[in-house]
């Protein structure tokens, strides 16, 4: 009997891609895609779309009766505006997870639960250690997506204790970028100018969308590994560096005015206070546990992943311009210096 897999939040980019890959895998017998939204492109053949909210009784019936052996929870939303306001987002994130886990608790065939979480659970502050490992205790982010993610993780951990026969894998993913990714951070880099906090230049990590899909597949179809794993591309990219790679002019804003500006910018990119803190202090997570126990190393480094994303952007400053300017300036300098060297002895 093949694997029977249920995926929540399946209509969004990551989910759509994942269910496609799962449906094409010979080891998989059944894929149930749960999302009350319609996907941008229809789901591939072989994927059953269950167009319900996580809080619906239909979900409970499916999880219990369809012989689901793996539950993949991608349905934690990061964008209040898209979710219909912060309150709705929280309700969907936290209560949706509770409902899903309640249903999963009664699923007799369930053997695996994979949660897509985020490194945002570590927050972003000046007094943070340079590199987060999974076991480090961290201050709880007090609001937004990070707080939801922590609450969701807590419920999943408590589920882990109550169902020891289910292997629970929590993947804390770094900020995702890639040619088709659309999230607040990618929209930030698409602005004509990138506002930054004056005098701060945080370290950022990125995860390429291909690696996101790959690590999820690994956790679902590979060897079952219980635990929490940070997942991010190797290395770090500074915000200033990222902005230059994106070919945008930075717009440094003094700290006291930052929240005012974020409100204005927030109308286009869905920028929340926690994202402002991220732009100020950044965060870096250690990925050695994923490399060791999960056996997963991303193909794209943080820098490469970002460059791949940035190649779709309209650059105001292009590489050719800089190289040409550099060469012209140097040629002029050499001519002048040559002239001075010739004329001076006379």
């Amino acid at each position: 009997m093949g694997r029977r897999i249920l995926v929540t939040g399946a209509a969004r980019t990551t989910g759509r891609r994942l269910v496609g890959a799962l449906a094409g895998d010979p080891a998989v017998e059944r894929v149930v895609a749960v999302d009350d939204l319609e996907p941008a492109e229809p789901f591939p053949a072989g994927v059953e779309h269950l167009a319900v909210d996580l809080r619906s009784p239909a979900l409970v019936r499916t999880v219990r009766s369809a012989g689901i052996d793996t539950c993949v929870h991608l349905g934690v939303a990061a964008e209040p505006r898209a979710a219909g306001g912060r309150a709705t987002m929280k309700e969907r994130n936290v209560l949706g997870t509770m409902q899903l886990l309640a249903a999963a608790y009664h699923a007799p065939d369930l053997r695996r639960l994979v949660l897509k979480s985020t490194t945002a659970v570590y927050g972003a502050a000046a007094g943070d250690p340079a590199v987060w490992t999974e076991g480090m205790s961290h201050d709880t982010p007090r609001h937004g997506f990070g707080k939801d993610a922590i609450e969701v993780e807590d419920y999943v951990r408590s589920f882990d204790r109550r169902r020891p026969d289910v292997t629970v894998t929590v993947l804390r993913l770094a900020n995702q970028v890639g040619p088709t990714v659309d999230n607040p951070l990618t929209r930030y880099f698409e602005l004509p100018v990138c506002p930054t906090v004056l005098g701060f230049d945080p370290r950022l990590q990125f995860l390429h969308e291909e690696d996101t899909a790959e690590v999820l597949l690994r956790a679902i179809l590979g060897l079952a590994r219980r635990g929490t794993f940070n997942v991010a591309g190797d290395g770090v990219v500074l915000l200033s560096q990222a902005i230059r790679i994106a070919g945008k002019p930075p717009l440094p804003i003094p700290e006291p005015l930052v929240n005012r500006v974020a409100e204005l910018v927030g109308r286009t990119v869905d920028f929340s206070p926690e994202q402002v803190r991220f732009i100020q202090y950044g965060r870096v997570a250690d990925t050695s546990a994923a490399a060791g126990r999960l056996g997963f190393t991303p193909k794209w480094t943080s820098l490469r992943a970002f460059e791949d994303f940035a190649s779709r952007l309209h650059r105001l400053v292009t590489e050719e311009q800089v190289v040409r300017l550099e060469r012209e300036a140097l040629a002029l300098l050499r001519r002048t210096a040559g002239w001075v060297a010739r004329e001076l002895p006379r």
């Binding site: 000046a126 250690p129 500074l238 400053v317 550099e326």
Partner: protein
């Protein structure tokens, strides 16, 4: 292709031209910008940019042009974001081309720093450099780091542990990270040592930096000795370093505690020139400096279990502190006058 362009176009940390043969992108394996192949679309570093004839014509101006060329290349790299930092944010490209050149005149001309005992700092592998801290602003830490970068045969980068205030101040925060420093916490220190880095720690912290001038050259309490614990856990040797000269750069005669609290600073110094002369008062006095690295104190033989024994921690802390205090006194005698 001229012989000059077959050499790597980068400079060594000492500021000399790199002698290694260059690859297709005009740089040697050591100085190649990682992750960037010399592709067809990529003309940077194309060695045919200038002819050997032009090289010969420049005469005495050649070094100037070389310098400008390097500066332009640097600006180009920065403008395109073409550099890499490590996970702590250390940016060797920026240190080599901007930060170290800014500090070098202070080291060489203003304070005429003399450095001894560099042979006690290992050429590779982890070690914990522990020093005394004084002078209102942490110039002593910067000078020790520059001594190791410029004068140590292996040109080692000192990764210093700094107070959290440094990572919350605009402008200071990114500079602290880019020059290789990180937050003074056990996690970061352990991580750096396990990666084989040279870590610098100033256990007196603000108590040392912000002490009044009348207490000069008296070492303050060494925190709770957390640095010893980290050394024991990683088996890294401790290299005490004694700095003489930093005490006189901003002789602090008073501390405006209330103003400091208002501004969120650990102290607000009053020196004979600051705040009396305004920004001019921020010019440090040109005292004569001596930096001495002392013989390393090995910790590997004690093993990580030794961290459980508070007596071992106290003893090691005292041993390090006494070594520094003794060396400071010796070098004070050796220096003679404050201005050398």
């Amino acid at each position: 292709m001229s012989p000059a362009t077959e050499r790597c176009r980068a400079r060594t940390k000492k500021g000399e031209r790199c002698r290694n043969p260059a690859g297709p992108d005009g740089r040697c394996a050591v100085h190649r910008r990682p992750g960037r192949a010399a592709g067809p679309e990529r003309e940077r570093g194309a060695p045919a940019a200038h002819t050997p004839r032009a090289e010969a014509d420049l005469g005495p101006l050649a070094p100037l042009v070389d310098w400008a060329e390097e500066a332009l290349e640097f600006l180009g790299r920065r403008l395109l974001g073409e550099y890499e930092v490590d996970e702590f944010g250390h940016d060797p490209d920026l240190v080599e081309h901007v930060l170290a050149p800014l500090l070098r005149p202070l080291y060489r001309r203003w304070w005429r720093v003399e450095t001894r005992g560099l042979e006690h700092v290992p050429a590779s592998g982890p070690a914990l450099v522990v020093g005394n801290h004084a002078g209102t602003l942490p110039f002593d830490a910067l000078m020790v780091a520059l001594a190791l970068l410029d004068e140590h045969p292996a040109h080692r980068s000192l990764r210093m542990l700094a107070a959290d205030l440094a990572f919350d101040l605009p402008v200071v925060a990114p500079l602290a990270r880019k020059s290789g420093n990180t937050l003074a916490c056990a996690e970061d220190a352990t991580r750096l040592l396990e990666a084989g880095e040279l870590v610098g720690v100033w256990p007196e912290g603000y108590k040392g930096l912000g002490k009044p001038y009348r207490e000069r050259y008296q070492l303050q309490r060494f925190g709770r000795g957390g640095f010893v614990e980290v050394a024991l856990r990683t088996g890294a040797p401790i290299v005490p370093v004694a700095v003489v000269g930093s005490e006189e750069i901003y002789p602090m005669v008073a501390n405006l505690r209330r103003l400091a609290r208002l501004l969120g600073f650990p102290y607000f110094p009053v020196t004979p020139t600051f705040p009396l002369l305004g920004p001019l008062g921020a010019i440090p006095l040109p005292s004569k400096w001596l930096i001495e690295f002392c013989p390393p104190i090995e910790t590997a033989h004690l093993g990580p279990e030794a961290t459980l024994d508070p007596m071992v921690l106290f003893d090691l802390t005292d041993q390090v502190r006494d070594t520094i205090q003794r060396t400071v006194h010796q070098n004070l005698l050796r220096r003679g006058g404050v201005f050398g």
